[in-house]
């Protein structure tokens, strides 16, 4: 089972978790990334590429499924303007044993940070904004796989 979504609307992590079903399934790991009140931001604006972003998410799902022999994988990433506390991204992996599912979500999040065309902008209380720079630590972590 593969579920990939690139969407503006919110999603419910619990609902996504319930979609996994397999008799061989023994482990489900998930990760949610949320808009956090860093730098006194009020919101986050996320831009995507109309074609490449979806393709990159699909490729990431395929690679991760093969690499960790997953029974199921989910990636949801939002775009548009997200308020504090709102979910930005959700990844989940289902496998027979716990090691694969857990490593898969770490791998997916590391890769998402460098391989998928998405750009974040911080929106401040006074209406000003600032594009977030790619972190060197993310680049290093992603290339370590």
């Amino acid at each position: 089972m593969q579920h990939i979504a690139l969407q503006a609307k919110a999603f419910d992590a619990g609902e996504e978790l319930r979609k996994f079903e397999s008799k061989r399934l023994g482990a489900i790991a998930s990760f949610s990334g949320l808009v956090r009140s860093e730098n006194e931001i009020r919101a986050l604006s996320i831009e995507h590429h109309p074609v490449m972003t979806q393709k990159a998410l699909e490729k990431l799902c395929d690679i991760t499924t093969q690499r960790y022999h997953l029974l199921g994988v989910t990636i949801i990433h939002r775009y548009g303007t997200l308020k504090l506390g709102e979910p930005i991204v959700f990844v989940a992996a289902a496998s027979e044993h716990r090691k694969e599912a857990m490593e898969a979500i770490i791998y997916m999040m590391d890769r998402l940070k460098t391989d998928v065309p998405l750009w974040k902008k911080e929106i401040f209380a006074d209406g000003s904004s600032r594009w977030i720079d790619q972190k060197q630590s993310d680049v290093e972590r992603s290339s370590s796989w």
Binding site: M52, P117, L118, W131, D133
Partner: protein, 83 residues
């Protein structure tokens, strides 16, 4: 050729895209960037940090020395920051 801009690059350009016919001696993405930067604003500012530009040719990620031969769309954008 259509050139599309995303994120900070789009904002610095002040528009989503351009449609430009390049001279015949423009072969690679590097050539495009150099050619456009020489035209002055807004290109020179938007492309100032050359090492921070990323590219895609017809929706496939591409290196700066890639050929633009038979390409209909070049996308220019900063390093990604999703997740």
């Amino acid at each position: 050729m259509k050139i599309t801009y995303f994120a900070k690059t789009r904002e610095l350009m002040g528009r989503d895209s351009d449609s430009i016919d390049f001279p015949t001696d423009i072969h690679t993405i590097d050539d495009v960037i150099e050619y456009l930067s020489a035209k002055g604003a807004p290109y020179d500012v938007a492309f100032e940090e050359r090492n921070s530009l990323r590219f895609a040719l017809d929706n496939e990620l591409a290196q700066n020395d890639a050929s633009i031969n038979n390409i209909s769309e070049l996308a220019i954008f900063p390093p990604v920051t999703g997740g």
